[in-house]
C-alpha cells in the first residue's frame, strides 16, 4: 500500500483499472486495526493499486470526496467513486468480495 497525500491524490486515482484508497487518521483506532489487513490484501492483489491517505492532513479533500466517517475504503475507476465502505461496513471480507467483483 502506498501512502498518498492531498497533492498527488487526484493523479493517483485517475486509473482505468480500480484504485483502492484507505482513508484513515492517527486518532482513529478502528482505522489502525484495518490497516494491517489492508496491507495483507494489497500484497495478495499486486496488480491493483492500493493507497492510504491520512485525512488529518487532508480534511478538505476527504470532505470533498463526501467522506465524513472513517475508516473509509473507496474504490475509484477513472477518478470516479464506484464503491465505498465506511465504519462497521469496512470489514476486510466485504472489501475483498467487492474487489473480486470489480476486477
Amino acid at each position: 500500500m502506498i501512502e498518498i497525500n492531498k497533492d498527488n491524490f487526484e493523479e493517483k486515482i485517475q486509473s482505468e483499472t480500480i484504485a483502492v484508497v484507505d482513508f484513515w487518521s492517527p486518532s482513529c483506532v478502528p482505522c489502525k486495526e484495518l490497516m494491517p489487513k489492508m496491507e495483507e490484501l494489497s500484497s495478495r492483489y499486486e496488480h491493483i493499486s492500493f493507497y492510504s491517505l491520512d485525512v488529518s492532513k487532508a480534511r478538505r479533500l476527504a470532505i470533498a470526496q463526501k467522506i465524513r466517517s472513517i475508516p473509509c475504503v473507496v474504490f475509484y475507476r477513472d477518478g470516479e467513486q464506484v464503491k465505498s465502505f465506511t465504519g462497521h461496513d469496512a470489514t476486510i471480507d466485504a472489501i475483498e468480495a467487492a474487489l473480486n467483483e470489480y476486477i
Partner: protein, 411 residues
C-alpha cells in the same frame, strides 16, 4: 556406485532447495527422496555423461514418467504413489496438527474483560487463545478519555489503556488472533470454536464478546451513515471542525464524548430522551459548565434528511409529542450526528446454547454460565454496572474459575 552418489548429492541439494521448486510442490519430500535413492541404485544410467548433466528435477520427471524400463521400478512407483496419497504434504500435516492442539482456554473477545481474562489465564500457565473480530480493546478503543479506571494517569486515553492491557496479556504468553468466530459448539467436554472451516478446540471457553453500539433506529439513519451519522467521536469528530454537532444519548459515553467534541465543534447539542442525564455527576457538571454544550431534553430523532450530507433532523418531544425540525447552520451546510445511545450485547453466537436474559448472559458470582466449562465476562453479562473496571474484574474471576475447572478435568 556413481549413480548412487549422484542421487545422494541430488537428495541433499533437494533438501536444501526443493521447497522452492514448483515441480516439487505438493510432493512428500522424504517419499520422493526414498524413491530416487532406491531406484537410482538400480538404474545404472549414471554411466551416461549426457544424462549426468541434466537437472535432478528432470531426472525425477523421467523416472516418474517411467522412461526407465526396468520392471522392478514399477514396484517403487507403487510405493511412491502409496506414500504420496496417504502421507500427504507438509502443509496438510501441520494443519492437522493445529486442529488437534487443545487449548486450556479460548477467550472470545479482546476488550478489557477478554484481555484481563487472558492475562490471568496466561499467568496461570494455561494455553490461552484470544479471538477478536474487529478492534482490540472493544468500546474503550474508541473512547477518547477514560478517567474512572483506578490507577490510570491523568488524561489517559482509551487507546493507550488498551495498548497497555494488550501488551501485558501478550507478555505472559496469551495468543491473540484477529478473526471472526462463525460458529461455536459447547455441547461436548471439548469446546469447539470455528473460524469458517478452521476448527479450534479448548477445555474451557470464556465469552467476553461485549456489546456493539446501538442505533437510533430512525428513518434515514442507515442512508446517512458515514455522511453525517457517526458512531465514533475520536474517528469522525475532526470532520466537523467548527460545525454544529448533535450528540444523541445521555450516558457516560455520550457526555464524555460531547466534552471531547466541544473542543473541535463550534457548538454541541445533546439530545436525550429523558429530562436528566444518566452519566456520572462529575462529567455532568463539566458538561453543564461548558459554554459550547446545550441540551434538548425529552427529545428523540424521528428522521434524518439532507442532500448529500445531513442537513436537518426531525425531532419529537417524548412528553408533549410535539414535533420540531433542527436545521444545519446555513454557514456550515452540514450537521454532524453522533449516535452514542448505548450498546447491544453481542450474544448472537451463543444464542440458544447458554441461558440469557434480555440478550445478556446469566452467570453466577464465579462467572459460570448454564453450560459447564463456559464462562462469561464483561458487558455481555447480566449485571448492574458496565464499566471498564467491572469488565476487567469479571475477566479475572472468569479466568480463575476456568483454571479450577480445567484442573478438575485433569484429576
Amino acid at each position: 556406485m556413481k549413480s548412487l552418489s549422484y542421487t545422494i548429492i541430488n537428495w541433499i541439494d533437494w533438501l536444501k532447495y526443493g521447497e522452492e521448486r514448483s515441480f516439487t510442490e505438493g510432493l512428500s519430500k522424504q517419499t520422493v527422496c526414498l524413491f530416487v535413492i532406491v531406484s537410482g541404485t538400480r538404474t545404472p544410467y549414471g554411466q551416461n555423461s549426457e544424462k549426468r548433466n541434466i537437472t535432478h528435477g528432470a531426472i525425477r520427471k523421467e523416472e516418474l514418467s517411467g522412461k526407465q524400463t526396468e520392471k522392478k521400478d514399477t514396484f517403487f512407483f507403487c510405493l511412491f504413489f502409496y506414500f504420496r496419497l496417504f502421507h500427504g504434504n507438509r502443509e496438510r500435516r501441520s494443519q492437522r496438527r493445529e486442529k488437534f492442539l487443545i487449548y486450556d482456554v479460548i477467550i472470545l473477545g479482546a476488550g478489557p474483560a477478554g484481555l484481563s481474562a487472558g492475562l490471568y489465564a496466561a499467568r496461570a500457565k494455561m494455553q490461552t487463545l484470544i479471538f477478536e473480530k474487529s478492534v482490540v480493546g472493544g468500546q474503550i478503543a474508541t473512547t477518547h478519555e477514560v478517567e474512572n479506571y483506578p490507577g490510570s494517569p491523568e488524561n489517559s486515553t482509551g487507546p493507550s489503556l488498551v495498548e497497555r492491557m494488550k501488551e501485558q496479556a501478550l507478555t505472559f504468553g496469551a495468543e491473540l488472533v484477529s478473526a471472526e468466530i462463525t460458529k461455536v459448539d459447547f455441547s461436548g467436554k471439548e469446546k469447539k470454536v470455528f473460524v469458517g472451516e478452521q476448527e479450534y478446540t479448548a477445555k474451557s471457553v470464556i465469552v467476553a464478546c461485549g456489546a456493539t453500539p446501538k442505533q437510533i433506529g430512525c428513518e434515514g439513519e442507515d442512508e446517512f451513515r458515514g455522511r453525517g451519522v457517526c458512531y465514533c467521536a475520536t474517528c469522525d469528530g475532526p470532520f466537523f471542525e467548527d460545525k454544529h454537532i448533535v450528540v444523541v444519548g445521555g450516558g457516560d459515553t455520550a457526555v464524555e464524548e460531547s466534552l471531547y467534541l466541544s473542543k473541535i465543534a463550534k457548538r454541541v447539542t445533546i439530545i436525550h430522551r429523558r429530562d436528566a442525564l444518566r452519566a456520572a455527576k462529575s462529567i455532568q457538571e463539566k458538561a453543564f459548565a461548558n459554554e459550547k454544550i446545550d441540551f434538548l431534553w425529552n427529545s428523540v430523532i424521528t428522521k434524518i434528511e439532507g442532500q448529500g450530507p445531513v442537513q436537518r433532523i426531525h425531532l419529537e418531544n417524548t412528553v408533549t409529542k410535539e414535533t420540531s425540525i433542527l436545521e444545519a447552520d446555513p454557514d456550515d451546510g452540514v450537521l454532524g450526528i453522533f449516535v452514542l445511545v448505548g450498546f447491544n450485547p453481542e450474544t448472537q453466537l451463543v444464542e440458544g446454547l447458554i441461558d440469557t436474559e434480555n440478550g445478556y448472559i446469566i452467570t453466577d458470582a464465579e462467572m459460570r454460565t448454564s453450560q459447564e466449562g463456559v464462562f462469561a465476562a464483561g458487558d455481555i453479562r447480566k449485571k448492574s454496572l458496565r464499566q471498564v473496571v467491572t469488565a476487567t474484574a469479571d475477566g479475572a474471576i472468569a479466568a480463575v474459575s476456568a483454571e479450577k475447572y480445567v484442573e478438575a478435568l485433569a484429576e
